[in-house]
């Protein structure tokens, strides 16, 4: 049976603290393995942090919508915002083999999203960014 959930949060970084609880609740309903829950939790915090940090130039209130959907084979998470067009997949790749002394500060969040998820896609849809992250579930 498919399981779905939707949540909204304001464009305030303190709001990202709510994500862990939402992921935990969804993981329990969908009976996701712990490692899948942890991966979704971290990837989602990174994705939403990026949106809140870069999507809007003004100081007005905006909303980020998170949709979860679990089927027998995969979990699909969509993060939607009405901010400026921003595709995190255009962020340069991090060279994780490079010495820490020469590392540039940015890109770690997007790197982890790519590593933790099986697929990450961005599209622009009617003035909104839609970031889709897919985590395939282990076969029973």
């Amino acid at each position: 049976m498919d399981i779905a959930a939707e949540h909204r949060l304001r464009n305030d970084l303190a709001e990202t603290r709510r994500i862990g609880g939402w992921v935990e609740e969804f993981a329990q309903r969908a009976q996701l393995p712990r490692e899948v829950q942890n991966a979704i939790d971290l990837a989602l915090v990174e994705a939403v942090t990026n949106v809140i940090s870069y999507a809007w130039a003004d100081t007005r209130e905006h909303w980020v919508t998170i949709c979860f959907h679990a089927s027998a084979d995969e979990v699909r998470i969509e993060v939607c915002d009405d901010g400026r067009e921003f595709n995190p997949l255009t962020v340069p790749l991090v060279d994780t083999a490079a010495p820490l002394e020469s590392r540039k500060p940015g890109g770690l969040g997007v790197h982890m999203m790519r590593e933790l998820m099986d697929a990450v896609e961005h599209r622009r849809e009617v003035g909104r960014n839609v970031l889709t992250m897919i985590k395939r579930l282990p076969k029973h």
């Binding site: 970084l13 303190a14 990202t16 603290r17 862990g20 942890n38 939790d41 971290l42 915090v45 990174e46 942090t49 991090v94 060279d95 994780t96 083999a97 490079a98 010495p99 820490l100 002394e101 590392r103 500060p105 770690l108 969040g109 790197h111 982890m112 590593e115 933790l116």
Partner: protein
């Protein structure tokens, strides 16, 4: 995210537990800076009870790992939990930053 401290013969150990998210990373930075100001030769960040580490926490670790190294001192991660160890490994931090690796 509670942080407690313990003095060691060669420095100071910070015990960090729970979720190291963006807000907690700011608190971690304050505590690391305080530890550096005590003149500790080595600051150990013990992450045995940390259940989550995001890129904001990694940035704090990286910034002060570099600063301490540049000053001939060191900042090291001690006893990372499995969740944190996985993050340190996937970002290439583990081999250079974790004590005893």
């Amino acid at each position: 995210m509670p942080i407690t401290k313990k003095a060691l013969p060669d420095g100071l150990e910070l015990f960090v537990s729970g979720r190291v998210d963006g807000a907690a990373a700011n608190e971690l930075e304050i505590q690391v800076l305080e530890a550096i100001r005590t003149g500790a030769k080595t600051v150990y960040v013990n992450l045995a009870d940390a259940t989550f580490l995001c890129s904001a926490g990694l940035r704090v670790l990286l910034q002060y790992w570099r600063q301490m190294k540049g000053a001939g001192r060191s900042l090291l991660v001690a006893n990372p939990s499995p969740e944190v160890n996985s993050v340190l490994t996937m970002t290439g931090f583990r081999d250079q930053m974790v004590e005893g690796t």
